[in-house]
Every structure is written in C-alpha cells, then in structure tokens.
Symmetry: C2
Subunit: 435 residues, 2 copies
C-alpha cells in the first residue's frame, strides 16, 4: 500500500442515505486504502446528508457524519455524490455543487432525463466532472461503454431491458401463467414493485434511461419528453402465449435508433412491450437483471449484462465514477463533456418501421384468411406468418406477424380490419423487435 | 458541425496496415468531421507505416500516406496507433513514441502481456496515454470496463471466452461431431485458423489476454509467464459427448481469480478447456464471438459480449481509445496510469481449487463403482455425480464429476486410480467451471 502521508485528501459528501447511499457509504469506509491507491488521493467521507438525522440507519453509516444542512455540506466538499433521486431538491443541490466547482456523481436518471442539458452546461462551465454511470442499468457499465468505448464508432441502435420490475412481472406472467394484475401484486408483496408502481409499469423509468442513452449514442440532446412510451399494463397472458407459439418472449424494450428514412436522418426513441425471438441473447435476461445491446457500424453487436438495480450494484457504478473524478482532481483533466454536436431531429413516431404481431378474433367462415390477407396487403403491409387457431365452431383466432411497416400504416390497417364483418375483435397489436 | 477553423489538429500515424490497420484508416478518413466534433481536434492521418509500400492495398488506404521510415513518421506524429502485432519492431516503435511524448494506442496483446510493465512505465514517465482496448476481445469494451468502470469495486473473478478460433473449433466439434483435427482443418480452410495454429489452439493468444485482464483487475503485474496454459488439442469428441450428457459444453476458458486460500491472499491465472453448464450465459457464445464475465463484490456478475476479432471491430476499439487520448491532448489530463499497488502473489497452480470431470474406462466387475468412489474419497475429494455406461460385457465407462478439489490432490488421485486393477484407462480429466 502507498505511503499515505504523500498523497492528498478529497472530501466527499454523500447526499441521501437510502438503499444506494448506504452501500456507497459502506464501501467508501471499507475500501479506504484500496480507493486511495486507485485515486491517488484519500477519499474522506465528510458528510452524509439526510432529511432526518434521527431515523435509524444501517450500522455502516456513522451517526457523526449525518447532517441535514445540505448546502453547507456541499460547500465543504470536493466531490458530491447525489443519491437522493427525484427532481427536487436533487437538482438544486447538484447545480450548487457544480457551480462551486465540485465534481458530482449521481445515480439520478429522472433528473438527467429532464434537466440533463442544464446540468451538463453547469459542469462544462465550471470545468468539472458529472458522472452518472449508476443512472442507467445499475452496475452495467453501459454509460461508459456508449460514451467512451464507442466514441470512435457510429452507433445505429440500442436495444435494452433496463427495468427490473417490469422484467420480473413479465417473467412471472410467462413462467407461472399469471395475468398482469396477479404478477404485479406478487411483485409488490415481494418488494420488487412499489406501492405506486406507475414509474415502472408505465415505462417511465425505462424511458428516462433510454433518453440518457440516446443522448450519448447520437450526440443529440434527448429528453424524457422525446420518448414514445407504452408500459406493460395491457399485456395479457394470451399475448404471451401467442408469442411463445411463434418462438418469442415479450419484454419491455428500450429502443433508441438512428435512421435514414426517405432521405431524412433522425433518431427514434421509444419504450414498449415487444416480442423478441427466443434465440435473441436478451430473451434469456430474467428478473432484476438488465441487458443492453448496442449496434455500431464498426463494432457490430455488443451486449452489456448485469444487475440493473439494488444498493450494492448501483454503489459499484457510483464508486467507479468517484475514482475517475477523484483521479481527475489529482492529475488534471476531466471526463467527456456533453456531446450534442449532431443535433439529429426526432423522427415522427408514426413513421418508424417495425414488425408487428396482431391477434384477431374472426368468424370461422370460408375465405376469412384470404379477406384478411388481402386487406392487410392493400395497406402495403406484407405478412410474414399467419397462424389460425379454431376456438369453437363459429370463431377462430388469427395470429399474424408482419414484415416491417410504419406505425401509421399499421394503425390504419387495424382500424380497417376492425370494421370488417369477418373480424369480431382486434385483440392486440404488439411490436416485434430483434435483429 | 463545429467550425473547424477554431479547433486544432492532431497528427496521427498508423503503424501497420493489415486487417485492423486498413479498417482504422478507413474509419479515420470516413468519419473526419464526427471524430473532430468528439475529440475537439481534427485527427489528421499523416502516415501509414508499412514494410513494403508497393504491396497492393485496399483503396481506402491512400498511397501517398504509405511510408516505410517508421522512426521519422513516429517523430512527426502527435498520436501513434500500433497495429503491427508481435514483439519486434512494435516494442521499439511504441517505446520511441512514448519517450518522445506521443500518446499511443495499440492492439498488441502479445507485447503487452510480455513487456507491459516497460510500456506502462514509459507512458507514465512521459505523462502520456497508452490505450489498449483492442488488445483484449476486439470491440468488447472489457479493458475499460475492468480498468475504469469497476475501479471502485473489488473484482474477485474473470471468466472469459477470448479466442474466436478455438471457440469456432469447439463449436464444430460439438455441433457437427468432428474430431479436433477435422475441425481444425475446416477452420484453416475457411480462414478462421492460421496455417500455424499454435498461438490459438495451444491457448497462448488467450493467455496473453488473460494476463492483461488479471493485471488490471487485481492491480498486480501479471505477465504471460504467470498464466498456466492448456490448449484444446487433447479435447476429443468423446469428452464433448460426455460433457453434453451431464448438461455441459466445453469451452476454452480464460480464468483470473483472486483467492484467499489458507490465509494467503493471491491470484490464479489460467487458460484451459473446461466444462461449462449449458445454462451459463457463456455457454451460448458461438463462433468468433467473445464474452467476458466479471464478478465483483458490489457489482455482482457482469457480462460483456461481442465480436472478439476482425478488422472493423478491432478498429472500433482503437478509435474509441484514439478519441480518448486526443481529448486528453486537447483538454489536458490523461487516462488511468498503471495500477499495481496491490502486488498480489501468484498462487501455486497446484493449489487452485476447481471441480473436475474424469472419464475412466473400467472393468465391469461387481463393486467397481464402490472401489473407485472409496479411492477418490481417500484423497479427500468428494464426488458430486457419477454416471456408468456399459460399453460391452467386460468394460464400462465411468464419468465422475467432483466437488472442488486442488489440482495437486486430483493429480495424485488420478495416478492412483490408473494403478487400480479395475481401471483400464483414465481417458480424460477436465475442469468444470461456472458459478
């Protein structure tokens, strides 16, 4: 181990002491010597800012460090770790820190996805670091992968499973044959889903992460409002069963792609449940695990996989950033600044092309398959496969998988199909992603 | 796009113009504006150093840039990319560049695994960057992942498939039922294996990459000589079939682990064929793809996956490093220096504990299973599963999988088993890795 009298000290203030904050504090105190050797400076934990210092805490958190005066604690620090989450007061605290020349490490996806530009600018103006590996997919180093490892390449698409709660719920629906409500209730009882599950099941948490990845991948500012979001509430056991029969699983996917449609280059960013072929590497990502596939012109297809949430994995990402920003404090330089030179426009979601699975309940009359196929073809959509299941003497279930079609053309087709005499009901329409 | 009159220029010299060099040149020239916006400086390709300037080249490489005077080309550059491979003259070129204050990006695993310490020191003395993401697993960003993303964590083990040639050969043996020689010949005919396949099939290429990863993960210098290496020449179709019957596939694995055995903390670094459970995420890594699993105390299990070799994927890694070192040239600072503060000793290979699969040809006499089991137990090794296949009236095949045992105890057991009257022959002994 180095002789510590030779190296300096950096004061670290941790804002927030929930699940992630507690683990950050634990590792900071456990690995003091290791971290000092890696940073070139001792990381001295000087304050853990909480709302109520009297709340009982994990014994790893020393009571003497607990404080409620965030502003003063920030001002006394060299590096500030923000793990409070949410917009306020995290936003003011981070801005205060950056404006006073402190480097910041945050795990706050919601804040970055809405106020990212403001935070980047404050960091750039002060010439300090803003690290946020923990904001996307926990310990999975996809922020650094996209921002630094692929900095010399052209990323064309990112496909990710970035929300563990919805992944767990869809898994349970798939393996235990539960309906959404039952699987959600079970996830809530096990503590995998919140009492108010909206941020997870309505796709907002995934959307925030997708916006962050899209900004980095395409060098274009992308915020939460730019993401088309559909959650998993409307996915049924029948959808999952129909997907299984055609060799697919249903996952909540984060998709960010750069496209050149009819001459206009732009990006499309969305979160929605989608069918994924069972042989796709992401089809076997279960429970709380996250996986992100990045496709780039030179690199081809890369996948990053690991624990997407939880105290210790998120703390690992925070500490990795902390070592980098501390090293910069000691030896000079800083991590990459905001890169938004490309300023690619958002493509209209209705023009985005994907494959679809449609499930239709139809009358089992002669020629029904021909009528449906003709109708779909009239809208310029070609059918890849169609499967007919006879449900009783009068009705049948048709499952169609289409080739790539625009959201717009698909919606029009569905409207027209619903009006046909032969069609009892359009049961569901889901995107098919993968290769 | 930025106004380029405002930003400076960095002269880039590429040493070597083989498969990787050609792709580096192609992307450097194709993405000039993009790279300038990302680096904050224009990357001006000033020289491509080759042995013979008259050899016909890909049209992406401008003839006017081809040179044979490496020293002068290096001296005129700001950043040097080394993609010649091998020890000489790559070593002298890189040292010359570093000593003259040029940052270097290299894909040279063989050189780093043998002379890494010398190169790191030269870079540290000059205060410049030495980037080598492309040296391990092509485009898969595992160097940056281990060195930077996990810099705040404690890595306990790395398990990798880091050689595409052997992975392809083992795949063919598994799926087409070929013997090693046949699969190798096929790989050579398809250009996946060299005429002299030794570096790949004897595990040396994988060993070099493992040494590099171990150095980074454990903050301890590790070189090629520290790696215990067994290649895949002795793996038979029967081994693969026996593995399949117990739910395993055979892969050439790179293993680097930090262990605390009997009080002594140290590292074990090895490359060998091993059984991997079919449900392990690396079991489905086929052909030229690479995958590296990194286990860390806080992060848990992470996996990095992607194209492990080839011109374009390696060029992606080179260009990612190039953007980083160029950014440092423009804004100051540098990437992480060598970190070897931990100086963990190498554990004696014979003391390393793993599980094993043994295949024995035995006489089919009453009590043979009991005799074998007792003998194995006498050496302190406990048997997890044993499977007996009757081959004819007189002989049977026994397949044992053991619990964790030392290499030493296992070797002694095998010697003793071979001496038993009941044992006709010890057919093979292979490690079992995984969780």
């Amino acid at each position: 181990m180095n002789d510590h009298t030779e190296i300096g000290t950096l004061n670290v203030c941790v804002l927030g002491c929930g699940v992630v904050g507690t683990e950050v504090v634990r590792y900071l105190r456990q690995s003091t010597d290791e971290l000092a050797a890696r940073c070139g400076a001792r990381l001295e934990l000087t304050a853990v800012v909480v709302r109520d210092a009297r709340t009982p805490r994990d014994p790893a958190v020393p009571t003497r460090l607990l404080r409620t005066d965030a502003e003063a604690a920030i001002d006394e620090a060299d590096v500030v770790v923000e793990v409070i989450g949410g917009i306020d007061p995290a936003r003011e605290y981070i801005l205060r820190a950056l404006q006073r020349g402190k480097s910041v490490v945050t795990a706050n996806k919601a804040l970055l996805a809405v106020h990212g530009a403001e935070l980047y600018q404050a960091a750039d103006q002060a010439g300090v670091d803003l690290g946020f590996e923990a904001a996307v997919a926990g310990a999975v180093p996809v922020v650094r992968g996209v921002r630094e490892s692929l900095a010399g390449d052209t990323i064309t698409r990112i496909l990710g499973i970035v929300n563990g709660t919805t992944n767990y719920i869809l898994d349970q629906m798939t393996t235990a044959g539960l309906e959404f409500d039952e699987a959600l209730r079970e996830a809530q009882e096990l503590g995998y889903a919140e009492a108010d599950p909206s941020a997870d099941v309505d796709g907002l948490d995934a959307a925030a992460k997708t916006a962050i990845l899209a900004s980095l991948a395409f060098h274009s500012r992308t915020s939460l409002a730019d993401v088309s979001v559909t959650g998993i509430r409307s996915v049924t056991r029948d959808d999952i069963e129909a997907a299984r029969q055609s060799g697919h699983v249903i996952k909540l996917l984060a998709v960010a792609e750069q496209r050149q449609d009819d001459g206009a280059r732009g990006i499309a960013v969305r979160v929605h449940p989608a069918l994924l072929p069972m042989e796709h590497p992401m089809a076997n990502v279960y429970g709380a695990y996250n996986a992100v596939v990045v496709e780039a012109v030179a690199a081809g297809t890369l996948m990053f996989y690991g624990a997407g949430a939880g105290g210790a994995p998120s703390a690992s990402a925070v500490l990795g950033d902390l070592v980098a920003v501390a090293r910069h404090r000691v030896t000079g330089g800083r991590g990459p600044a905001e890169s938004n030179y490309a300023r690619l426009p958002l493509l209209p979601p209705e023009q985005v092309l994907t494959r679809y699975q449609m499930r239709l309940q139809v009358r089992d009359v002669p020629g029904v398959l021909a009528t449906i196929s003709t109708t779909v073809a009239e809208y310029g959509i070609s059918v890849e496969t169609v499967r007919q299941v006879v449900e009783d003497e009068e009705q049948a279930l048709l499952v169609l998988i289409t080739h790539r079609a625009s959201d717009e053309a698909l919606a029009e087709t569905v409207r027209h199909l619903a009006d046909l005499d032969e069609v009892v009901q359009v049961l569901s329409v889901l995107r098919v992603e993968g290769y």
